[in-house]
Amino acid sequence: MIKSLKILKHQGKQYIPDVVNANVPGIFRGRPIITSAKVDEQALCETCPTKAILPAPVRIDLGRCVFCGECAAQFPEKIQFTRDFKIASNRRESLIIAEGEDHPVNFDDKAVRKEIRQLFKHSLKLRQVSAGGDNSAELELNAANNVNFDMSRFGIEFVASPRHADGIVITGPISQNMSEALQLCYEATPEPKIIILAGVDAISGGIFEDSPAIDRSFIEHYSIDLYVPGNPPHPLTFINGLLKLLGRK
């Protein structure tokens, strides 16, 4: 008992008090800035392994970006990644950052369905479905609920059954072999319900986009309530995205 109390004392407080204004350590690759520097645009676009960079004017699609940092390493005068981790949005097109822009990723409050904020604002239960996810996004979603990030302080939690959930969080590019289970899980979730795509693989297929072993028809059939970019998405990106969606910040 005394030993356990000692451990508790040594651990101290580990939680991040303010998840909105927190700073991430080191050289995190968050929202990029594209300067007006003149570079060989074709070469720049070809550097990107997932065709996330579009030319004239130069834009980066965070829904396709795997945050590998290659463009910033090869064209440092043109592209810099900032530590801004608040890059989730409810509109797919808001994930496209254009040359010269340096403002937080847009979130369209008007487009949020009314019932989401009415019903889920202070209590949101989510069912996670990994559909070809590589276990890094899954580990980060788990971390969102650890003692550091402590997402449950906002009433947001992951639950075991879709029948207890208010929505699903999809990770992975959606393998063919998971497409049926994903569909069943979604159908088992009671209305009203939300769909969140966490990570580049879920949003666009990422590096697996053209694989014949994936099947993205689910995404085409339903409207998506929140896109959370990242490879994998940082727990703070995920939590802040949800707080925006729920109209809490």
Binding site: S4, K6, I7, L8, H10, Q11, Q14, P25, G26, I27, F28, R29, T47, P49, V66, F67, C68, G69, E70, A73, F81, Q128, V129, S130, A131, G132, G133, D134, N135, S136, A137, E138, L139, E140, L141, N142, A143, N146, V147, N148, F158, A160, G172, S175, Q176, N177, M178, S179, A181, C185, G206, I207, F208, S211, P212, A213, I214, D215, N231, P232
Partner: protein, 497 residues
């Protein structure tokens, strides 16, 4: 027997024509001759590839005594029936199932040619092993599980609370990585695929790929790249072992251990972020270059992170491993004996907890192993959940020591621009072995006469070790399944590719 094989080293590029090709019967007897000495030899990869209508089978056997690999091949026509290795060597069963699944080859005395990864149609129509007894019942779990984890299906046959049989069905995570590895012709795209084989083993798999690719181009890997890869592998081991200890505590409802180990992982993966901008080190390992040099400042920072980590980690570990309520759940639960481990060809941590020395860092050293770090595997012998938990604890301490040694050998320059061309040598084979935190990772590549990659074969340690979970839970209570499962913490995506 060895003289009938091509003898190579880990990461050595060799011309494909130098691989001896035999008729299947001769091939079988030579390979069998080595593999029956299970302690010294084990098969690290056995796969096929098609050229026109013929199929070439390649067997790579590791000799842990001589620190070398033996390679032989056999060319067989389509739709042949072959005598199976698995008929007498259990460790070969999955390799042959995979070859059967990919090329339709029938192995005559194979115990069970069950699909490995499935197409979606075969997955949905698959009939599980079952029993007609009215006294037994079946429990099906998955593919979607209760927690935030990857999908797979577990089918139990139980007598009351007791598990008689567990059948694990995988394939749900299949993304077609091996064929994408062949079809993408750009180094960065291939590197990203390697990073995504299993995101929890980003460093392990990407190192295997980078080491392999550099050999394939005949590139002499500079010291700084070896340094960064070795360092990153040990950091990844600490992070994942700590995460697993946290999860093991959660499964025995020991909340203090769950919270403390869980939060202790954070400074370790945050260090990856400080170094490489990503908590899983995605972006760090690149063939021919490193975008994020390991500066002296980072070295000092790492030492500080480790000092703080170690104090808390040891305090928590000593408490956990002397706590009767936790030990009573860990000890003699999910036990494997060393004969089973040897017979079924288990690798990595699972083997080492069964007193079977399987550790590539020791047996087939690469990067700075065998040079700056002379690694001695930690071995335990009880083969139970306790051993798998305690081995993690001891390996974390060992990895901390390795990191402290490594920072004394900082490179004085870093290769920030790659001189690789992206063109591999023609008609070449490379086998790359890495000891990831779970165990033996094996990547093999073969190029054709134009230098185009025609086969890229990936093997995660989970390929072998899922069988260990099936066997370990037999005769245990089904309520102990979660803790058994967590004590192995195998990869679904690494298996399904």
């Amino acid at each position: 027997m060895n003289k009938y094989f091509l003898k190579i080293k880990n990461n050595q590029a060799v011309p494909v024509p130098s691989i001896p090709v035999y008729d299947y019967e001769v091939f079988y007897s030579y390979c069998y001759g080595l593999l029956q000495n299970k302690k010294r030899y084990h098969c690290v990869n056995y796969f096929g590839y098609r050229i026109e209508s013929d199929i070439t089978l390649i067997m790579v056997i590791a000799d842990d005594g001589e620190q070398c690999l033996y390679v032989a091949a056999s060319r067989i026509p389509n739709n042949t029936r072959l005598k199976s290795f698995a008929g007498s060597l259990s460790a070969m069963e999955k390799f042959e199932r995979e070859i059967h699944e990919q090329f339709g080859i029938e192995f005559t005395d194979h115990p069970w040619l069950k699909p490995v990864r499935h197409s979606s149609s075969s997955l949905n129509s698959y009939v599980f092993f079952s029993s007609d007894s009215e006294e037994l019942h079946e429990v099906g779990v998955g593919p979607i599980h209760a927690g935030i984890i990857e999908p797979g299906h577990f089918r139990f046959i139980c007598n009351g609370e007791q598990i008689l049989s567990l059948e694990i069905q995988l394939g749900y995570q299949h993304r077609g990585i091996e064929s994408l590895m062949v079809n993408k012709n750009n180094i960065l795209q291939r590197t990203l695929l390697a990073e995504n084989i299993a995101g929890d083993t980003t460093v392990g798999h990407t190192t295997a790929f980078a080491n392999l690719w550099e050999s394939l181009e005949g590139y002499n890997t500079p010291y700084d790249l070896h340094f960064c890869r070795t360092l990153a592998q040990e950091i990844e081991r600490i992070a994942m072992h700590t995460a697993d200890l946290s999860a093991l505590c959660a499964d025995v409802a020991y909340q203090l251990g769950n919270a403390v180990f869980g939060r202790l992982r954070t400074p370790i993966i945050n260090f990856f972020q400080e170094w490489s901008g990503n908590r899983f080190a995605k972006g760090l390992i690149r063939p021919g270059k490193v975008l994020y040099p390991f500066s002296d400042t980072l070295a000092q920072r790492l030492l500080k992170v480790l000092d703080d980590f170690e104090t808390d980690f040891v305090e928590m570990g000593e408490q956990l491993f002397s706590l009767p309520s936790a030990l009573s759940r860990f000890e003699k639960t999910g036990t494997l004996d060393s004969n089973t481990a040897l017979r079924c060809g288990f690798v990595g941590m699972v083997a080492r907890t069964c007193n079977l020395s399987r550790d590539i860092r020791h047996s087939h050293p690469y990067n700075l192993y065998g040079k700056t770090l002379s690694h001695e595997p930690i071995m335990l012998n009880s083969g139970d959940v306790f051993a798998r938990a305690f081995l993690r604890y001891k390996e974390v301490i060992q990895s901390i020591e390795y990191l402290r040694i490594l920072v004394n050998y900082l490179p004085n320059k870093f290769t920030k621009q790659s001189s690789l061309s992206g063109m591999a040598s023609k008609n070449t084979l490379v086998v790359s072995l890495v000891e990831g935190w779970r165990g033996e990772i094996c990547h093999c590549a073969i190029t054709d006469h134009q230098g185009k990659v025609i086969v890229y074969k990936i093997k995660d340690p989970s390929f072998h070790n899922w069988k260990a979970l099936e066997l370990a839970v037999r005769n245990n209570e089904i309520s102990d399944f979660p803790i058994c499962n967590k004590s192995f913490n195998l990869s679904y995506c690494g298996h399904d590719l």
